[in-house]
C-alpha cells in the first residue's frame, strides 16, 4: 500500500519486514528516527526482535558480530561519527564474512561539527570490505534494504551491506512510499541459514588469527566475493523487480544517457534534482544524461564503461572530498577508464558538503563546465559551490 510516510519510518518498516532477530542501536542524528521507529515496532509487538540499546556505535555493531556468528539476522543503522567509531568493527565484520545489513544515513564528519548530509562518512569506509548501495529516494532505500539481505546472505557472497541514504534529505522527507508486505518479503528473502554458527554441538573457532602465510588468501576471497557480487546485485534487483514491480537499477541506472553528449555520474538523492535539471536542459537542446551509481562497492567498472562509452565528456558530481587528492568517485572512474580505449574528458565536482543544498542552477553550472571541457579540461576537479567571499 502506498502511503505518505517519513523516510526513516519507511526504512524501519522495511527492516522489520526482513524479520531481524536483533536490532542494536545507538542514537545519532539523522539516524535516530529509524531506530526510534524500530523500537516502537518492537514495543507494539509488530516486530518480534530483540532491541538492544547499547553504549556506543562501536558496541552496536559489535553486538551484531555476536548475533550474526550465533546464526541470527541482524540490523543496525548509523551515520557519520558513528560510522567512524565503528570503523574497526566494519573490517572485522566483512573479514569474518558476517552478512550484517546496516543503513547509513549519510552525514558529514566533524570538524567542524555538522549534522547535515553529505557522503564523506560512507566514502571514508569504501575500503572496509562492505558492499555499499546508494539510494536515490525513500522507495529505493526501502527496496534496497530487502535486496541487501538477499545479497549479503547468499552463501557465495557472505558479505555485509551498507544501504546508504542521504541523511535528512531522505531520512526526514515525507513522500509517497509503497510499504512492504511482510509475507511477500518473507517469500522473497529466505531465512538466514549460515553453514557455520557458534554451536556447542558443533564447536568451531571464529576469528582465528592469520599470519603472512594465510592472510592474503582471506583477503583474496573477500575480493572474489565482491566480484561475484557484481552479478548478484544485478540479479537480485531483477528478481526483486519481477516480484515487487519496482526497479531502480542493479549496479547502476541511467537516465537519458543513450544519446547524451554530456553524462553526469553521481550517487544518492541528488539524482532526482539532476533528472529535473536534465529535463530542462534537454528542452533547450543540450544533450545531457545521467548515470546513477547504485553499487559503489563493488565498483561497477565494466558496467560504467558500457554506459558511458559514447559520451563526449563525463561530469562526476559527488558529496565527498578526499582531502589530499580529489573526490573518490572521480578517481575511481578515471582509474577504471585508464586501461581502456575511452579517452573522453572526465571532470569532477565536490558538491553538497555538510548539507549545502544542490540546486538545479548548480547542476547547470556543472554541465556548462563539462560542456566547455570538451574543448580542453580547464580544471579536472573543483568545488561546485564555493563561497569565495568567506575564504
Amino acid at each position: 500500500m502506498m502511503k505518505v510516510v517519513e523516510g526513516s519510518y519507511a526504512v524501519a518498516h522495511a527492516a522489520m519486514c526482513c524479520s531481524p532477530d536483533v536490532v542494536s542501536a545507538y542514537p545519532i542524528t539523522p539516524q535516530t528516527h529509524i531506530v526510534e521507529h524500530l523500537s516502537q515496532l518492537v514495543a507494539d509487538g509488530e516486530l518480534r526482535a530483540e532491541f538492544l540499546t547499547v553504549d556506543s556505535e562501536f558496541s552496536a555493531l559489535s553486538v551484531l558480530v555476536g548475533v550474526s556468528a550465533a546464526g541470527g539476522r541482524s540490523y543496525s543503522s548509523t551515520t557519520s561519527q558513528g560510522l567512524a567509531l565503528m570503523y574497526e568493527v566494519l573490517y572485522n565484520v566483512s573479514g569474518m564474512r558476517l552478512p550484517i545489513v546496516m543503513t547509513v544515513a549519510n552525514r558529514a564528519l566533524s570538524a567542524p561539527l555538522n549534522i547535515w548530509n553529505d557522503q564523506q562518512d560512507s566514502i571514508g569506509a569504501r575500503d572496509v570490505g562492505w558492499i555499499q548501495l546508494y539510494s536515490e529516494n525513500v522507495q529505493e532505500a526501502v527496496d534496497t534494504t530487502v535486496q541487501a539481505y538477499k545479497i549479503a546472505e547468499s552463501l557465495e557472497i557472505m558479505t555485509p551491506v551498507m544501504v546508504c541514504m542521504d541523511g535528512f534529505i531522505l531520512t526526514h522527507v515525507y513522500e509517497p512510499v509503497e510499504l512492504l508486505d511482510k509475507e511477500q518479503v518473507a517469500d522473497f528473502l529466505p531465512p538466514y541459514r549460515p553453514t557455520d554458527i557458534l554451536d556447542p554441538q558443533n564447536p568451531k573457532t571464529f576469528g582465528a588469527f592469520a599470519d603472512p602465510s594465510t592472510y592474503t588468501e582471506f583477503r583474496y576471497l573477500q575480493y572474489e566475493a565482491h566480484l561475484k557480487a557484481l552479478s548478484k546485485i544485478e540479479n537480485v534487483a531483477k528478481e526483486y523487480a519481477e516480484v515487487f514491480g519496482r526497479d531502480f537499477g542493479g549496479l547502476l541506472d541511467a537516465y537519458q544517457a543513450d544519446d547524451a553528449e554530456i553524462i553526469i555520474v553521481t550517487m544518492g538523492s541528488v539524482v532526482g534534482t539532476i533528472k529535473e535539471a536534465i529535463d530542462g536542459l534537454r528542452a533547450e537542446g543540450t544533450k545531457v544524461g545521467l548515470v546513477k551509481i547504485r553499487s559503489y562497492r563493488p565498483f561497477p567498472a565494466q558496467a560504467l564503461m558500457k554506459e558511458l562509452k559514447n559520451a563526449d565528456v563525463i561530469a562526476v558530481i559527488e558529496k565527498d572530498i578526499c582531502v589530499g587528492n580529489e573526490a573518490a568517485l572521480l578517481t575511481d572512474i578515471k582509474a577504471a577508464f585508464y586501461n581502456s580505449n575511452l579517452r573522453m574528458p572526465i571532470i569532477g565536482f565536490a558538491a553538497g558538503l555538510g548539507g549545502r543544498d544542490i540546486t538545479i542552477k548548480d547542476i547547470r553550472k556543472a554541465v556548462e563546465k563539462a560542456s566547455a571541457a570538451r574543448k580542453g579540461i580547464e580544471s579536472q576537479f573543483e568545488f561546485l559551490t564555493l563561497r569565495k567571499e568567506i575564504l
Partner: protein, 290 residues
Amino acid sequence: MQNLLAPGHRACAGCSMPTVIRLVLDAAGTNTIVVSPTSCLEVTTTPFPESAWVVPWIHSLFENASAVASGVEVMMKRQCKDTNVLVIGGDGSTFDIGMGSNSGMFERGHKVAYICYDNEAYMNTGVQRSGSTPFCAHTTTTPAGELSLGNPRPKKDMPAIALAHGVPYVATASVAYPVDLRKKVERALQTQGPSYIQVNAPCITGWTFDAGTTIEIARLAVETGLWPLFEYVNGELTEVKKIRRIKLVDEYLKVQGRYKHLYKMPGGAEILRSIQDIADKNIAMYKLVD
C-alpha cells in the same frame, strides 16, 4: 579433568593463562561459548588453521568482547538455548580499552560470565603498563629510571567498578587456588545476569620469575594479602578466603624481576613499605586473618 583446551597452543612455557582457561572450561563444561578479545590468549590459542579451543569460540576485536558476548547471549536466549556464554580476556581489554563495552554489558544485565585473567600489563605487545599494573611495577612503558620507580599509579579497582554497575556476582580468584576458582566459575554461571571474576595470572615473561614457580608466585600474591580472594553476591561481601599464615609482601616482590629496581634504587625501600601498606589495608578490610 576435562581437557577443553587442547595442547599444541603457543603460550610461553610456564604461562598461567592456559591453566586458568582449562580450569574455567572444566567448570563450565562443553555447553559453553567463549568470546575473547585480542590478547595473548587469542594469538597463542588460535593460529589459523589451528585452534586449541574445544568449545565454540569467537574473537572479534580488542575492545568489544562484552558487546559480542551480549549478541551471542541474546541469540541463545532467543533460541531458548541454555548455553553458558563466557568472556575470557586479559586485563588490558578488561580494565582499559574494553571498559565501554564492559560497562554496557554489565548495565544491560546480560547473562554473561566475564573472566579476566589478570597478568597486570599488556603482555601480548611486550609488557606495557595497563590500568591493572600494580604500584611501582616495572613495565616497558613505566620503566625504572633516574626519575622513575616504575608504574606511578595504583592498580585500578575493577571489581569495585563491576559492583558499582550492580553486577550480581563479583569475585576474585587465583590460578593457584583451582578449587576456589572452579567453584566461583560455577557460581558465576548460575547467576541470573552478568558476573565478573578477576583471576590473578602471573606472566613469566612480564613479571620475570624462575621457571616452574608460576603457581607459587600466584599463591604468594594471595598469602601476602596483595590479592585477596573474595566474593560479592548482590553487592554483599559473602566470602573471603582466610590466610592461615600471612607472609610479608617482600616474599612476593623479591622473586619478581618487575620489582627488582625497588631493591636497588634510592627510595625503593620506602616504596616497598607502601606496598606492604596496600597488603595491610586488604588484610584489615577483608579480615583475611582470623
